[in-house]
Amino acid sequence: MKQVAIAAIALVVGLVLGGLKPKAELREVQTEQAQLCAAPCPESTVGRDLAQFFGGARTMAPRDESPREQADRLAEENPEAAAIVAELDAAEGQAVADVGEALREVAEAGEELELARAALELRRAQARAALVEQADPDRDQLDSIDGAYSEMNESLSSLAGELGDLVAEGREPTRREAMSFAADALDAMLTAEEAVDGVLDADQRAELEDGAVNPFSHVDPALVDLLIDLGQ
């Protein structure tokens, strides 16, 4: 047993002592890295020197002239160009502001749709769990219920697809078409609700809260994607 005890002690002592040097080296490297990251880079003059060499010192700004001073000097020498540059600056500022606003709106709309999708998914999962808990359906009943809602979602997806095709063709649905779509969508939901009612017996139906079988609670969040396409 002495050997086992010695081996364990040797392993621990070896780990402690053997780890000291590598850890110290690692610490040194980390310190060096931190110093390098923190130090400002020295200003390189290679580019300016090369430009002066190839382009001639005549066209380049004097070394001691700041960019601001250089711009002022050029504006004085070329007043027409300075006016054009000022107009371009103003237009650029407006364009940047417009693009920024548009991007912000798109991002906000995207976030809202993402939230809507998450909410629909949570709603569907919770409604199904409530249905299972309250009605306690057997395996066949549950398969039938899932099948009914699945058919409903297929119908709704198909309707949304048709609507999307219509919009893609560049025309808006007429009042009659819109009413027809709404009627078909409601019909798909009614069919699903009737199918679920038919699967469950009277005792099970009595145990259920309305929200658990509400077809709106079982709508597939994938419909949000179709609605996004429609919106675009």
Partner: protein
């Protein structure tokens, strides 16, 4: 050497069998299962309240059992906010998100609780037999070191058994209190983490065994062992503080000697935790021998 190992093995086996015969193993396993199951149950209550609040907001019926929204929260990347503080890095977070939700909860709860259970168990290793002097009769047939390490191994086996049963407690909560949980994956992931938790507890068992050699009073031994375990946590906290950053050499020297220094390596996919587990096992033996200079010469 082989005879010595055989002696220690026989003592460990006898110790385990005696614990099973006297029902103390059952008590320990049930206590572990109750703590693990209780922690898991508490988490499910918190989860249930969150789900009920969400159900009210979404205007769908509330449920009596939680779990319905977990898959959706996982897919929508919402669970990561809960698990990120527990796992540390993004890579480990990815792995944790693939596990059934009660598995990381069980693991982190056990990391906090098992040290204290292991110390309490270790404190009973030698002290009662020193007090009633029955240890002398065992020592007629074997050496003190064999007896000590044999009993340590026996307690370690007992602790392993209790760790498996504790995983069963969490699994039972998952199976009975929650809905839509993958029971097979839950069992597999809990059992996969069990060896890590067992190895994690060994150094603390060693502390308890060391305390047990210092006194014949089990309660005093428990107090000593628990104090040592608590001190290890406090010490680890100090080493992790800004004070530790100012004393890097001291940290390098002391941190490998604390089980907590190896704790984070136990978490993660694959078998990368084995090397840290081996060190924890060795620390267990070393800690158990901390009081050997006293026990080896003690008048029994």
């Amino acid at each position: 050497m082989l005879g010595s190992l055989r002696d220690a093995g026989l003592i460990a086996w006898f110790h385990l069998r005696r614990a099973l015969r006297t029902r103390s193993a059952v008590v320990l396993a049930l206590a572990n299962a109750l703590i693990a199951g209780g922690g898991a149950w508490f988490f499910t209550r918190v989860l249930l309240e969150l789900e009920r609040a969400a159900a009210r907001t979404l205007r769908v019926p509330e449920t009596k059992r939680p779990g319905a929204m977990l898959d959706t929260l996982r897919e929508q990347d919402q669970l990561s906010d809960i698990l990120r503080p527990l796992v540390g890095s993004d890579e480990l977070l990815e792995w944790a998100l693939q596990l059934p939700v009660l598995t990381p909860i069980h693991f982190w709860l056990a990391l906090g609780v098992m040290p204290f259970l292991a110390v309490a168990l270790g404190a009973e290793t030698v002290a009662p037999d020193v007090r009633d002097r029955s240890l002398r009769y065992e020592l007629v047939r074997t050496g003190r070191l064999e007896l000590l390490l044999g009993r340590f191994a026996g307690q370690a086996l007992l602790l392993g058994l209790a760790t498996v049963v504790a995983a069963g407690g969490t699994w039972l909560i998952s199976a009975t209190v929650m809905v839509q949980q993958p029971l097979l994956a839950q069992a597999a992931s809990l059992l996969g983490l069990t060896p890590r938790l067992w190895l994690w507890a060994l150094p603390f068992l060693g502390l308890g065994v060391a305390a047990s050699q210092l006194t014949g009073n089990v309660n005093v031994a428990r107090a000593l062992g628990l104090g040592a375990a608590l001190a290890s946590w406090i010490g680890f906290g100090i080493l992790q503080s800004p004070w530790g950053e100012e004393h890097p050499v001291l940290v390098d020297l002391v941190e490998p000697l604390l089980p907590q220094g190896w704790m984070m390596d136990l978490w993660g996919p694959g078998l990368g935790w084995w090397s840290s587990g081996l060190v924890l096992g060795a620390l267990g033996v070393v800690f158990a021998l901390l009081a050997w200079p006293v026990f080896g010469r003690r008048n029994l």
